[in-house]
């Protein structure tokens, strides 16, 4: 009896009693994460829908607002997130193969990329603050009206673009902050040696979350930064 594979699996301390075996437990946690991510698609979807409607109504203001964003920092930040997704993918692979030190290094690298992204985002927000582009009583689109005399700009419509810009990038940044928190937790337990080739579900589903947040940015980048960059006539 003790030689049968089932008996060995039951002795794995990571197996919860309500699962038949490790594989079922892994599939259940992965499916649960995907269902959560589907609700996240809905969560962000409402904002993407609002964006679409207002972009359709106030295209001029969206085009001018988009031009005022720093395309260099936006592109660099996209690259930073893609690099972090690579370290996550390689990290999950390291966990599958039971390479503890490599896993810790890759998780730490992911955190570094995540913090770098948030830092660059902070610089961009600070510039917007200086330009009075934060929606509210001190909002002003004067510098845009001066800079792009070819575009007809209504300041109240411009404010809607920046409201959506801050709501969408802000919600994304909140997800990044939570992601950095999750990865700090994962790094600690990876260092302690909790994750093995048989049990690394937290690394796997933490990775799914990180990739999802990356995908949101893959869409936010063209939708916010690249609305209308062609030379003005």
């Amino acid at each position: 009896m003790s030689n049968s594979p089932i008996a060995v699996e039951q002795h794995n301390p990571a197996l919860r009693h309500h699962f038949a075996d490790m594989e079922q437990q892994r599939q259940a946690s992965s499916l649960g994460m995907w269902v959560f991510l589907a609700t996240e698609v809905m969560f962000f979807g409402g904002m993407f829908c609002a964006y679409l409607i207002y972009r359709y109504w106030y295209f001029n203001e969206f085009a001018a607002g988009s031009r005022s964003l720093d395309i260099w920092l936006g592109t660099i930040n996209t690259a930073v997130l893609i690099c972090s997704s690579l370290t996550v993918a390689l990290g999950v692979r390291a966990a599958q193969m039971g390479k503890r030190k490599l896993l810790v290094v890759l998780l730490l690298l992911t955190i570094v990329f995540g913090v770098a992204f948030l830092g660059i985002k902070g610089v961009e927000w600070y510039t917007k603050f200086q330009e009075h582009h934060i929606p509210g009583s001190s909002f002003s689109a004067d510098n845009l009206i001066k800079e792009y005399p070819q575009i007809r700009i209504d300041p109240s419509h411009e404010q809607i673009f920046f409201s959506l810009y801050f709501a969408m990038t802000g919600l994304h940044a909140l997800h990044m902050i939570i992601g950095v928190g999750i990865f700090t937790f994962l790094t600690y337990y990876a260092w302690k040696g909790r994750y093995t080739p048989e049990y690394h579900n937290p690394v796997e589903i933490g990775g799914l979350y990180w990739h999802f947040v990356d995908i949101i940015w893959i869409y936010l980048f063209p939708l916010l930064y690249l609305i209308d960059r062609k030379p003005l006539k």
Partner: protein
Amino acid sequence: MSEPIVPSKLYVGIWITLLCLTVITAGVSFIDLGPLNTVVALVIATFKALLVVLFFMHVKYASEKLSKMVVVAAVFWLLLLLTLSMADYVTRLWS
């Protein structure tokens, strides 16, 4: 284990492709293609998202059909939200 270990070379290949596509989408936005600019940007973004979902998120290798169904359902509901909303707003000025 039904969870395959993907060679790291493939991950690096996907990573380089994603970086190239990022540079391309930023560069193309400066060229005047008329309404096609938006189409190109969204096609590139969707292709990048697809690469991440299929390879980095292992959907291509997942044996669980349920996970795949959840992915398709999420995209379907999102498209439903966007198309039906726009069907309203775009047609308001008609007639």
